[in-house]
């Protein structure tokens, strides 16, 4: 179980959230919904240890956890394609595999590639389609068997088939790890979410979720 306790984050004079308390259940998929600029990506970066809270702390199994300890357990899939453009998918996989101990086996990588229908492993990233890049981007986040997986809009800008494949993989992965993700697709929320948390000031998202009959939690906010 991962929790954020009394978290405040500000950028200069702008405060994104204050005294935020959130909890992410183990082996569940929690989706963060909110308007642009609400602080979803920032929150994910904080959970990934890439940003720091002004006040508050992150708890793992009810104990405070440092950024270094977070890095040991997480897999982070950023919204941007974070792969070496000039290298192939295979070369990117090999590069990121070497960065940390405990990487998955080549057979497991092959299974993920098959599940995602990830072909063109020997093409440079720059020459791949958007969907293929997204899949490769996701695969890199899975290389070190994370128990806490953070996905920042994993299906943005890709075709429907690729989105379905990624959603299927997410549903499969939640049996082994805690997943927190953001998305702007309501169908995706319906497809994968076990819990929904709204973040931000815009009431639109709450209205839509209420209309859809989807239960959600409203995050503490400014």
């Amino acid at each position: 179980m991962i929790a954020i306790e009394q978290a405040t984050k500000s950028f200069g004079e702008k405060t994104l959230f204050r005294d935020l308390n959130l909890m992410f259940e183990e082996q569940k998929v929690t989706v963060l919904l909110g308007e642009n600029g609400a602080g979803k990506s920032t929150l994910l970066h904080i959970l990934a240890g890439l940003e720091h809270l002004n006040t508050g702390r992150i708890l793992y199994q009810n104990s405070p956890i440092t950024s270094k300890q977070i890095h040991e357990i997480i897999g982070f899939v950023p919204q941007e394609i974070a792969l070496w453009d000039h290298l192939t998918v295979q070369q990117n996989i090999q590069f990121f595999k070497k960065q940390k101990k405990g990487a998955i086996s080549d057979e497991q990588i092959k299974r993920y590639c098959e599940q995602l229908h990830l072909v063109d492993l020997h093409q440079p990233i720059s020459k791949l389609s958007g969907g293929t890049k997204r899949k490769a981007n996701l695969l890199i986040g899975l290389l070190h068997q994370p128990t806490f997986l953070i996905l920042d809009e994993p299906t943005v800008g890709i075709d429907l088939k690729s989105r379905y494949e990624i959603q299927a993989l997410i549903r499969q992965l939640k049996s082994t790890c805690t997943i927190v993700m953001t998305t702007h697709h309501l169908d995706e929320v319906e497809a994968v979410a076990d819990h929904i948390i709204t973040i931000g000031k815009d009431p639109f998202y709450k209205q839509v979720l209420q209309e859809k009959g989807l239960p959600f939690i409203e995050a503490n906010k400014v």
């Binding site: 990934a48 240890g49 890439l50 270094k68 890095h71 997480i74 982070f76 950023p78 941007e80 394609i81 974070a82 792969l83 070496w84 453009d85 000039h86 990121f96 960065q99 940390k100 890199i140």
Partner: protein, 294 residues
């Protein structure tokens, strides 16, 4: 990526070639042509000829026919012609070389200088025999030659020339280093495709991966420029303190790496790199003018 490294390399080689051409154009060397015919073909005669050839100011040409010596001197093909007779080594051992060596000399100062250099070389050949004689024939000639070579005083003309060469070398090294500093800064242009900040952010998830990347990049860039610098020095046959040069490049690379990996806006990065290169070159020139820190 590979193309950019090749382009970087080609640029560095082009600069090295320019330096090479510049260096050659600055150093005209005048050598006095002399003709030598060795009829003795002994160890001593060959040592004498070798001693003459070692001079930076003499160009030795073989004389096939002694009768042609005068004609060649008259036609200005040489300043001096030296004919070493067959009994030279015997005369040298008995210290009676006077009048036994045939010399044809042109008029003028240049020929006189050549003759002087030839005489000095001959005298140098005689010294071990003189010493042996003084020691009443104690010790072999080989041991005396070894002792003489060990204690030979420095040739003042060569010393002055070496000092001048060192001075020219220091000036050359200053400009050479400024060239290396500029070459090093070109990495921000040729390797700009490596500036993928999304990947940099991702690497922060892995312990020290970010730092390793920066270090590896810096080491490769430094080694690349250092190797090219070493190659240039070897080609140009100049004195250049390579280790000191490398030490000067390291702080520059630290700043360049910071600009490369942390300044996101390319135009800002290029501007700051240009500014840094100029400032660092000025600092380097300034320290050299003041006698150098290292």
């Amino acid at each position: 990526m590979k193309k950019q490294w090749i382009l970087y390399g080609l640029t560095c080689i082009a600069v090295v070639c320019l330096i090479f051409l510049f260096e050659k154009s600055q150093q005209p060397v005048f050598k006095i042509p002399i003709l030598i015919q060795d009829e003795d073909q002994s160890k001593q005669s060959k040592e004498w000829i070798k001693s003459i050839q070692q001079s930076d100011y003499i160009a030795v040409q073989a004389l096939s026919n002694a009768k042609e010596a005068t004609e060649k001197i008259r036609l200005n093909e040489a300043s001096v012609a030296l004919i070493i007779p067959k009994d030279f080594s015997a005369n040298l051992a008995s210290q009676s070389t006077k009048g036994t060596v045939h010399l044809v000399q042109a008029d003028g100062l240049v020929a006189s200088i050549a003759t002087e250099l030839i005489s000095q070389a001959l005298y140098k050949q005689q010294i071990p025999y003189i010493i042996k004689d003084e020691l009443k024939n104690k010790g072999t000639i080989e041991k005396i030659e070894q002792a003489y070579e060990k204690n030979e005083p420095t040739n003042q003309l060569q010393k002055a020339t070496s000092t001048t060469r060192t001075a020219i070398g220091s000036l050359f090294n200053t400009f050479f280093m400024c060239g290396l500093i500029s070459l090093l800064s070109l990495q921000v242009i040729f390797l700009r495709s490596m500036r993928q900040f999304n990947v940099f952010n991702r690497l922060k998830l892995y312990h020290f991966a970010w730092l390793k990347l920066i270090n590896r990049h810096s080491v490769y860039a430094l080694l690349f420029v250092y190797m090219l610098g070493s190659m240039s020095v070897w080609i140009l046959q100049v004195q250049s303190p390579l280790i000191v040069n490398l030490l000067w490049l390291v702080p520059s690379q630290v700043v360049l790496a910071w600009l490369f990996f942390f300044v996101r806006t390319t135009s800002h990065m290029l501007w700051m790199t240009t500014l840094w290169t100029i400032v660092y070159s000025v600092i380097y020139i300034g320290t050299q003018l003041m006698g150098g820190i290292i």
